[in-house]
């Protein structure tokens, strides 16, 4: 099963999304596709136990890293 998150680069820091993908690397296979206007995370093979919340948690983590980067 493949799921996809599309983050607008004007709202999420590219580095934050990349870092979020890296932080979640043990929980799923995550491919990062950087475009001009967005960063996409293509998620496959999620940890079965976490699969129901994985995409949501990943999005929250990307938001947290984005906000942290903006404030630091």
């Amino acid at each position: 099963m493949t799921e996809r998150l599309v983050f607008a680069r004007s709202l999420y820091a590219k580095e934050a999304v990349e870092q979020a993908a890296q932080d979640f690397a043990e929980l799923a296979k995550i491919e990062v596709i950087v475009g001009d206007h967005d960063v996409q995370l293509v998620v496959t093979e999620p940890d079965p136990e976490l699969a129901p919340v994985l995409m949501d948690e990943l999005a929250n983590h990307a938001l947290f890293l984005t906000v942290s980067a903006a404030r630091s």
Binding site: V6, A8, R9, S10, L11, Y12, A13, K14, D36, H37, V53, D56, E57, A59, N60, L63, F64, T66, V67, A70, R71
Partner: protein, 154 residues
């Protein structure tokens, strides 16, 4: 002596959609700085899953999905809470930006023993002289490496 007009509070409508376990709404960046939207959103990461998207220029669409099942009344309360936090976050952003120069001065003196202007008047004069490219709509610059930014699109 002419009495100066006092600024008054403004009212505005905050429209949102309510679905199963989620609320969503659009925020106008002409009214709220992106930093304020971040600040308000971040406060809800313990209770909600949040996702921000760009549906139109200068409009930020925010979706909050609760981590636990929620009644309609709870979702309505959540929308109200977010709206309040957004107002506060915008105020805090503006206070922070308006006083950044003063803060920088006393911090510099406290930690490095110097800081330029010796009086508040000198500092204010300095700030005036800076002629900052003030954005009348009080919108901060988002990600400087954003291609959309570079093209002046967002």
């Amino acid at each position: 002596m002419t009495e100066q007009a006092q600024p008054e509070a403004e009212t505005e409508d905050f429209a949102f959609d309510l679905g199963e376990r989620e609320i969503s709404f659009s925020i106008d960046e002409d009214l709220y700085a992106l930093d304020a939207i971040y600040g308000a959103s971040y406060l809800f990461v313990d209770r909600c899953y949040l996702f921000l998207s760009r549906l139109a220029e200068r409009k930020v669409h925010v979706r909050l999905r609760t981590k636990e099942p929620s009644s309609e009344a709870e979702l309505e309360a959540l929308a109200g809470e977010f709206a309040n936090e957004l107002l506060n976050s915008q105020l805090r952003f503006r206070i922070g930006r308006a006083t950044a120069g003063i803060r920088a001065q006393y911090m510099a003196r406290a930690f490095f023993g110097s800081g330029g202007s010796s009086t508040i008047q000198d500092l204010l004069a300095e700030l005036d002289a800076e002629e900052l490219a003030e954005d009348a709509l009080e919108v901060p610059v988002p990600w400087k490496d954003s291609p959309a930014q570079q093209k002046g699109e967002s």
